[in-house]
Symmetry: C2
Subunit: 282 residues, 2 copies
């Protein structure tokens, strides 16, 4: 076993079962109820009930830090202790994060990844409403039935990059805080407001906010034909069935011109191009 | 076990081990040498040596068909026979494709997917050279160190959609015929020329073809500032390190304007936006 970094060797604390003197982090067994609670966070219902979600890996942990999101709990994979910057985790504890060391087997229960990551953390679930997002400045991206979590997360990332007010996740598609979505956002999930929305409530909410709904649709006008309103709700549809399947009506539709021989563009690509074009409006 | 479709029940042939009369498809055991050869196709070297690659699932099989790509071998998962259109597979055999039924365990050796698909096929590896691609009309996409196979495949799909001449895969990044790349192309891999290219040979090849190399780079000019030449080589870089790490020099660089707080865009999104903008040049 590799020597742990200084943080884990100094100090007076002692963690049961490791045979190693640790200042603070407690080693949890895979049966610890905390692990079961974290494991439950793979489902949207548990995330809503607990008001928390899981992030995985050092990159996402760093993204949380630079977005001023403080983890409630931080789990360090016993087999990767040497990969973990020691000072960083002492600082987490000083900020009130509970820090635990867990065997790889327990990390595999917390994490959705095939290979248990070096770290995982439980962070507070943001609580934005669709109305709050619609009240912010900038275009709003609507995921109208986007199922693929990688596409959904990539679209949150693009929405932040292009200055959107937030992302509305159409109910029935990918959940905004699922592990694959969170990973694909590359940290944007910590900064850009997201909320679920029902297809039934969307038209009235859009009208109340004075925002036109612009769908990406094969029968729409050429995307470059006319500027997109700066306050538009830009709807990107399901990977196979388009926007229409989730939202039957819209104010305007745009089409991304492309060769007829290709399958339609990837949903994350299509939505990102529309966001890019909208961001060019002066 | 569900009843197989008519194709598998009619006729005079008999396949060992199934207890079911089949007209033609032979049931292969997981130990059959053909399975081992197909399994080997997960590596670029075996794909080059055998001159073949693997496609997975009914959607990709359908894409091959509509692209006039005839499989050399077709494998049907014994557990999914009922999902397979019977007439289709009789037609494959008439066209010279060898059709086999394999147990799910053998399909798991052929396929890269977590859940063995209903069908997989071995198809001929296209043999394009970089020079041939550079001689075709339209812009060329250069993957300058793109490692993520999903991003690479999505970019092939976008390149076809936006009328590119082909895609050059920078050596050292994702291989164009790896299973994850092939899946993400959604069939474009059957239609759009792709080839490997070395960083050392690229500048001379570009010059010989009279094509400027335009990199996507944070220090480039605004993407919308000036039109992109219709014959450009559009370079998109590694997910973390950009184009520069793979290709030290270029003729011009463009930047996709975005908010400073976001991580850079997903590589597939960034490259697709550049392709979109290039396709708008009249």
């Amino acid at each position: 076993m590799p020597q742990g970094p200084a943080y884990f060797r100094r100090g007076a604390g002692s963690a049961a079962g490791t045979g190693e003197r640790l200042r603070v982090p407690t080693t949890l067994s895979p049966q610890n109820p905390r692990i079961a609670l974290a494991h439950d966070l793979r489902t949207p219902a548990a995330r809503r009930d607990q008001g928390r979600f899981v992030i995985e890996g050092l990159t996402m942990l760093e993204e949380a830090r630079r977005s001023a999101v403080r983890p409630l709990e931080l789990y360090i994979n016993d087999e990767h202790r040497a990969a973990v910057p020691a000072e960083r985790f002492a600082a987490y504890e000083q900020d009130g994060t509970e820090v635990f060391i867990v065997p790889a087997r327990a990390m595999a229960r917390i994490s959705d990844l095939d290979a248990p990551p070096a770290v995982a953390a439980v962070v507070p679930l943001p609580r934005w409403t669709a109305a709050e997002i619609l009240a912010r400045p900038g275009p709003v991206l609507l995921l109208a039935g986007v199922n693929d979590p990688g596409n959904a997360g990539t679209l949150v990332r693009s929405a932040e990059a292009f200055g959107a007010a937030g992302v509305l996740f159409g109910r029935g598609g990918a959940d905004p805080f699922g592990p694959k979505v969170v990973r694909a956002t590359m940290g944007s999930i910590f900064r850009l407001p997201v909320a679920l929305v029902d297809a039934e409530e969307l038209p009235a909410a859009a009208a109340a906010a004075g925002r036109p709904v612009i769908a990406t649709d094969v029968d729409g006008e050429d995307l470059g034909a006319a500027p997109l309103p700066a306050n538009a709700i830009l709807a990107v549809g399901n990977e196979r069935r388009g926007v229409r399947d989730w939202l039957p009506r819209w104010d305007r539709a745009v089409r991304i011109p492309q060769r007829a021989t290709a399958e339609s563009l990837n949903a994350a690509v299509a939505g990102s191009i529309v966001l890019y074009v909208a961001s060019r409006v002066k």
